[in-house]
């Protein structure tokens, strides 16, 4: 009897860790039914969308070369030929877990590849701010038990992180007040009216606006907190600064992916605000981001090599170039000659359509985006669905275990990468 014929029921050995957003919630379960996998215990849009890409049957997906089905050995051999012929590979997407990242690093060293995740710009906002001034951060359990004021900067996290409020204990007896801090120009530029922004923010969320862009807002807030603003120049920010000063434990939350270009400057101003507050009271940042393996691969590469992503093992040595090694730009400028794209969760952006050879290790649904000559597609298992694994939670301190809902019969990213590295080694010998 196949899973589809069996009556619906919970399939996850409790607990199940949802791999589809960096909150990595583990208090919900999954039921398998005729319609596929269904989330139980939450209405989370992101988890539901992620789960909709899977059934309980072993995947029938096959590797492809140039859009034509082949066996895995042939796909590996074709991929190795591409990598061996490359003078400068780019490893992008990077939608994988710790095991995948551990297996990717030796291949990156061997090929001199530049590594940059999908959403690399957002990851780099936080990283560059950190490299410049550092940070003072907090974690979900601290926020839940300690925060009395949460200021969400720029956007409402529950749009992209639907369980955010629940994870912060809002509405579950926690006493934290929630404020959405926005640039007035942002709401003017969008079609959203004040009322609909407040709706999106949710009941009980105060919306505080300040004229200008987000850079102006956070600069003025930092100045207010430091007592460097006189008169009414700060507008509504003056009152917010007072609330922050009066708070026992204030949290400033931001979603790096929602920040504009040069977002590191915004994070730096938030760091300064927290730093000033911490001279007399307590405050901390809560960064949101690092979805689809980006933060995890960054952590693993950092511990193995000593340097974060946007690094390559170049002939001259290990080069970290936060600006130059931007995958989007390198592809646009034809500065790389082969692309290895990893997207094992199915929720990543599709592999870029570029006119250089592409090797894609991805969720079976990405096969359609990897057609035509000069392409190799190898379907891989999804951590947390078809195989076990580990991902870092958004706050960076907790490495969550992921459990398989079933065996999807596909190789893991790590399996494929190890075979590639081994075969490449053989090809060079």
């Amino acid at each position: 009897m196949s899973a589809l014929e069996s009556p619906p029921g919970p399939v996850a050995v409790a607990p199940w860790t949802c791999p589809f957003c960096p909150l990595l919630c583990d208090s919900f379960s999954v039921e398998a039914g005729a319609d596929g996998l269904t989330l139980v215990g939450s209405e989370c849009r992101r988890a539901r969308s992620g789960l909709s890409r899977f059934g309980m049957r072993p995947a029938s997906a096959q590797p492809q070369i140039d859009g034509v089905a082949c066996d895995q050995a042939a796909a590996i051999a074709a991929a190795v030929r591409m990598l061996a012929a490359s003078r400068q590979p780019l490893f992008g997407g990077l939608g994988t877990d710790v095991a995948g990242a551990r297996a990717l690093y030796p291949l990156a060293c061997r090929t001199g590849a530049i590594c940059d995740p999908a959403g690399g710009a957002a990851l780099l906002h936080g990283l560059r701010a950190l490299q410049d001034r550092g940070a003072f951060t907090t974690t979900l359990a601290e926020v839940r038990s300690r925060a009395d004021l949460i200021v969400c900067v720029g956007s409402v996290p529950n749009e992209r992180y639907p369980e955010f409020m629940r994870r912060c204990g809002i509405g579950e007896g926690a006493a934290a007040e929630v404020v959405l801090l926005q640039a007035a120009s942002a709401s003017k530029a969008s079609t959203a009216s004040t009322a609909s922004t407040a709706d999106a923010a949710g009941a009980g969320v105060d919306v505080v606006r300040f004229d200008g862009d987000l850079f102006d807002v956070v600069a003025m807030l930092a100045a207010c907190i430091a007592g460097r603003v006189v008169g009414d120049a700060a507008g509504a920010l003056g009152a917010l600064a007072e609330r922050l000063h009066a708070s026992r434990y204030a949290v400033l939350a931001y979603d790096a992916a929602q920040l504009p270009a040069q977002g590191a400057l915004i994070i730096e101003a938030l760091n300064r605000t927290v730093s000033t507050l911490n001279q007399r009271t307590r405050a901390a940042l809560l960064p949101l981001g690092g979805s689809d393996g980006a933060a995890t691969v960054n952590a693993v590469f950092t511990w193995l090599s000593g340097l974060p992503l946007r690094t390559r093992a170049a002939p001259a040595g290990l080069e970290h170039e936060p600006l130059r090694f931007d995958a989007t730009r390198l592809l646009a400028e034809h500065a790389v000659d082969v692309l290895l794209w990893i997207a094992s969760f199915g929720t990543e952006p599709a592999p870029p359509q570029v006119d250089i050879p592409r090797i894609v290790l991805g969720h079976p649904s990405f096969a359609a985006a990897v057609q035509g000559s000069g392409s190799v597609f190898i379907p891989v298992s999804t951590p947390g669905i078809g195989s076990a694994g580990h991902l870092f939670r958004t706050d960076g301190s907790v490495l969550m275990p992921l459990h398989a809902l079933h065996d999807d019969g596909l190789p893991t990213v790590a399996d494929v990468l190890r075979r590639l590295t081994h075969a490449l080694h053989g090809a060079a010998a």
Partner: protein, 563 residues
Amino acid sequence: MTSLTTLRLRGGRVIDPANGVDGEQRDLFVRDGRIVTLAPGEAATEEIDIGGCVVMAGGIDMHTHIGGGKVNLARLLMPELQRAGPNPIALPGNPLELASCGGCTPGTLATGYRYVEMGYTAAFEPAMMACNARHTHMEMGDTPILDHGAYVMLGNDELFLEMLSRGEDFQCIRDYVGWTINAAKAMGVKVVNPGGISAFKFNQRKLDVDENHVHWQVTPRQVVHTLAKALRELGVPHPLHIHGSNLGVAGNIQSTLETIAALEGLPAHLTHVQFHAYGTEGPKKFSSAALQLAEAVNANPNVSIDVGQIMFGQTVTASGDTMRQHAQSGLASPRKWIGADIECEAGCGVVPFRYRDQNFVNALQWAIGLEIFLLVNDPWRVVLTTDHPNGGPFTSYPHLIRLLMDRSFRAEQLAKLHPDVAANAALNSIARELSLYEIAIMTRAAPARLLGLKDRGHLGAGAAADIAVYREDADREAMFTTPAYVFKDGALVARAGCITAVPVGGTHFVAPDYDRGIETMLRKRHAVQGGVNFDQLAIGHDELCSCCNGGRLLPAACFETTS
């Protein structure tokens, strides 16, 4: 499976303090990864002539920040240190190595390579957060060759403080400690600024040993005593590992002595004591209290220490002590730092620091560390550390060994420091030079004994064949920088400073017995206050294997308790 090969290391001078051997010329035999004695008529199948060499067990670093959250944050914070002057750090010439930066925040790969090249075969991460245990084990698993283990942090978690505060049954607290060690797969328990990390979250900026935590109304004295007693009752071989109150504060010797008193004779290990041995004498109100500390250690046989020697130059301090790191963050060089409040159980602070030889305080810190090494009588209770990277990188150990073994070299270095320190330090009048035997105690035999590792840190029959062979050299720094041969579990892993094999190291941990009834309470509490499902907290053996990259699991036995 029994190996057919038996290796003979012929003609070395063996220094093996655990077995009372001091420089005797004798052969060592290695088979199946162990030191063996040959039966009459048996012969070795391979032989290496190590005449003129000194042989010791592989070095064991029992306090070195090699992996986990704050170490990785230090790497993220300081990419500018991962350069060789204007150039990127060159790729390794050795095909067995993968690219990895060194310096004071090395990648895990470089950490393994550099330790092993120096003759070390095991290293212990002293500050693992339970919530970060998987990450810590992952990093240690990616530290090649070295065996490893970690101490889990307790004493700032809100649950422990709450239990203490409401006068919970001691048995309950003990079982919670036992559960935590098992869940995190730890080798011991460390307490950092007892109660102080939590207190900082409640906006308390200072916490003396008999001062109340502003919220929980418990004192560091109670925290230290309770944890030390719990470990004693659980039979955990490594006693409570204590990073005391008021780190870095002038006059903190008082806190350190009070912490020793709080133990009331229970065994404990005071870590990086150099940072806790400051007086307030002299015009700058900052003085050495090394003598007072050494007298206390000499008088309290229940106490062991490691020093946390500082070395001049750039480093980064990575600590769980958010309260003190926040207080010191104004001294950051370069001026940036990271702090974090973490999961209602811990915190971290990462502050870059440059120790300057012309700075009075730094110069005196250097002298205090050396004074402690030389004033404590019993080398079995002193472990050689720099608290890597906090006092300086572990790669400076050979230099430190020379300072301890060579009085004239020490005097030359002291003379170059800030003139007030050069002229007035008590170190000037200390003539003691440590012997190779004492160095072997402080770098392998003592740490093995303090950790309860019965088959490590010595060269007797049955011991793991972790062996370092040093070419005799009057310049001890040169001698200890590049051993001629290093063996790990009998395999040659480094030869003359070059890695020759990269096996995966094993994981040391303890599994004390405790009453599992405690899980009912923990489950309830986590359902309400936790950030992670209770069933996900404990790391099982299979998962530990995958975290540790398939390295061997090395459970250490607990001792029998009489309670």
